[in-house]
Amino acid sequence: MIVRAQSRFSATSEAAVRGERVVCDARGVAWFPEMRLLAVSDLHLEKGSRHARRGYMLPPYDTAATLARLAAVIADYDPTMVVSLGDSFDDIGGAARMPAIYRDQLLALMKGRDWFWVAGNHDPEKPADLPGATVQELGIGGIVFRHEPSAGRLAGEIAGHLHPGARIVQRGRSVRRRCFAADRNRLIMPAFGSFTGALNVLDRAFSNLFCPDNFVAYMLGTDRVYPMDRRLLRSD
């Protein structure tokens, strides 16, 4: 199960979901080499401006920062298909609020690729004035992409929504990182957005989703992905 990186980018670790190869990238995206498909989850674009509307003036730079990181991974992998796994915008009005300069950047990234907006709980509707297909879920081969993981153990699901993060304690110090949460049948992706936090994979929200014996948290390091066995993980 734990195989050291074989891809052309060193900052990855490889997993398999129902036999399909998945490259977990330290930058928080998943690459499916056989399908030339890039999956990214929980971008939460325009989160800053949503808070500003409520009276908390968070910096308006989160969209720019998130798109810049997305542009970098897209440039590296040059995917044919991109799946944004829901909560792409922080709220329904997010796409309409997005300044034109960012819209243009996003359009440039989308150009020439099949782009799927999976509906999320923050953005259940099609994003305003953007191309790409809005879908509830997307099935390709034996794999299903959807925003919220479905209850119970299920074969071949790639989901987001939960913002998985993991914590270890080593030499008396606590280290907390976003992570991919996976067993051989399911992969839950880390949140990609610049202002998005993480929920510990040992939280109740994750219980019953994974087979404990095969569970691995792929913690995102600065330039490496660290696969962590369940025994090493600590709750918050």
């Binding site: 734990i2 936090g197 660290y226 696969p227």
Partner: protein
Amino acid sequence: MNRPIDDRALEGATLLPEAFSRWFAMRGWQPRAHQLDLLARAEAGRSVLLIAPTGAGKTLAGFMPSLVDLARRGKRKPGAAAQGVHTLYLSPLKALAVDIERNLTRPVTEMGLPISMETRTGDTPAHKRQRQKQAPPDILLTTPEQLALMLASKDAERFFADLRYVIFDELHALVTSKRGQLLSLGLARLRKFVPDLRTIGLSATVAEPDELRRWLVGQNPPGDMADKITVAGGAKPHITILETAEPLPWAGHSAQYSIPEIYDAIKDHRTTLLFVNTRSQAERVFQELWHVNADTLPIALHHGSLDVGQRRRVEKAMETNSLRAIVATSTLDLGIDWGDVDLVVHVGAPKGASRLAQRIGRSNHRMDEPSRAILVPANRFEVLECQAALDANYLGAQDTPPVGAGGLDVLAQHVMGMACAEPFFADELYAEIVSASPYARLDRETFDRIVDFVATGGYALRTYERFARIRQMKDGRWRVAHPMIAQQYRLNVGTIVEAPMLNIRLVRGKTKSALAGGYSLGKIEEYFLETLTPGDTFIFAGQVVRFAGIRENECYVTPAPGADALVPSYGGGKFPLSTYLAAEVRAMLADPSRWHRLPEQVAEWLTIQKEKSVLPSRDDLLIETFPRGNRFYMVAYPFEGRLAHQTLGMLLTRRLERGGARPLGFVATDYAIAIWGLRDMGALNRSGRLTFGELFDEDMLGDDLDAWLADSWLLKRTFRNCAVIAGLIERRHPGKEKSGRQVTVSADLIYDVLRSHDPDHILLRATRADAATGLLDVRRLGEMLSRVKGRIMHKDLPRISPLAVPVMLEIGKERVAGGAEDELLGEAADSLIDEAMGTQ
């Protein structure tokens, strides 16, 4: 400015209404000279700073002008309009306000004065607050946060229209904090309502009384000061250092060796107050005392993390003199009166001479009897520190921190509050704010940037105009854009940002499914729980408990009597050694003629140090280098306190890295810093490749500091506080945290994005300024570096010196500071691979 008023003041009869003279006579008392002096000055329209030791009748003196004025005013005629608040009393502690109300009620009742008096704190129910607005009491006792709330309401001007006096209690403690900064801005607003408002500050002795005198009055003209009345201290306290036959520890903070001797002292006195520097120390000492408590004396524990109910019970028992000893942290520092304490024991070094004076003031509240106190140093360096503190107390030297410039985050909160009260003109508000002494030097451009921040966040990218929280009206005034904004302000008011805390509950069950119910022991910092694994034991609320797990915001523990506790390792003290005491300790080291006053073991230690290495003179910096094991060590002795040493350690390791010394880590104590690496730093110095002169050059506070700071967790923690105070992110309200981690916006993430996209943002400026004076103690480090320029004394040694032993013993106990989180991840991940491959 100090007109001779004493002649008049002594003719008390002409000043005091009859009810007062009668009352004093009835109690067999004389009004004290400073009480009459203060009254005379206040009646002449002056504001006054009263500096007096505990037990000098400070409170009554402070209220005397109000009581006299109110007594003269007499009863309200039936049908006459209700008067507004006459006197506002502000204290840093809720409990103090309640305490004062109780103490003041007696003279008021006995004199039969027609005066109404009420408290208003965070605990005051809404209906009572509402009634206070309709029918204000004559005297309102409250806290800085409540004043900010009252000033942000629309009828503030009417409510305070009749205000004559504002009394600030424990002013020395208030002014050095952000609460004091917010309060100074509130006072400026009160002065706008009532230009001839008189203020009275009550304070313990401070190093720079003029700062407090300026704080009390409007700074127009700049430098204007309140009058000052100083009451000389009472009888000199009788302080000794615990004499022990036991070996004195080299390092550590537990002072375990002294427990039997402390217990004997408790037996010899009526009531003993035992002060310690940290909560974990309090827990440890309390536990140890019960181990030796053969006579089962009533001994109690009191610290800020305990459940409120438990604390109140202990306080009650204290008042009724039914305790023989109480182990306490700084929660008991401020001037609340407690029963009949006849001995103060201070475990650990007091860290500052003025803190020592304050704590000893707790015992024997009668000015003319000497207080008795015993200092218990926990290790050898603390012996030196205690002796220095003892000398300082007799010299009356003071080392209170300077008041410092007001924070921009506090200013942002105040500007928002003022907009909530009524629309403002920027010019007028600016003039009002610079009349407060902490903000007297605020330039107009910075003020305008703060207004811009309050309106739209103040970002270079101007995309939030349509969401503005305050907007300019046609006439140029700024007003709140939406009532929701005012509501938010009220929820987030105040400058105290608590470290995230979890409730700690004791349950009997052993399984995780039983994690519910139980009874509350108090609160514990989240960061401490970070490192615990279920099954770990620690001491809390005076008992050994076993960590079971966390559910929601509750930490569950089970009793673990008899188990060995893994005691929380909070390091030494929260307070760094004060500059003054540090200088005293260095002077003592340099002067063998003073060593005869030290315990023999300590004098011997210093004598051997002198033989094996050298002792630095008062203004020199000693650096020792020596090999040990397969590492090379460098130990420096700046005596500037943990915070400054930690910053120094971070900067030195960067420089050593660049210089090729291959440093591996460092530890810092209050007294010294030890750095170890793979290359001989002494040899590098000798060869001139990396001299210590260069290494300790002041220029490290330039680029190196900036580069390190940017990524430091210290700065992130400071940013979080600034962001909450300035209203950028919501305050976490205990018990109302329904949303999980994944939806709360982390201040760290905001910091990272802001730093890379808007490095000149005003809130980052506020953060850097805060960190420099707070957690990093850069100011002190800078002073030290400039002091030791050209005065570095290097000693190359074949082995560790006696003086180096204490700091070397900290290695391994302390977490080694630094980044390297990725290495830890790698280690953890690889450990399993090794296990699986059978290489372990």
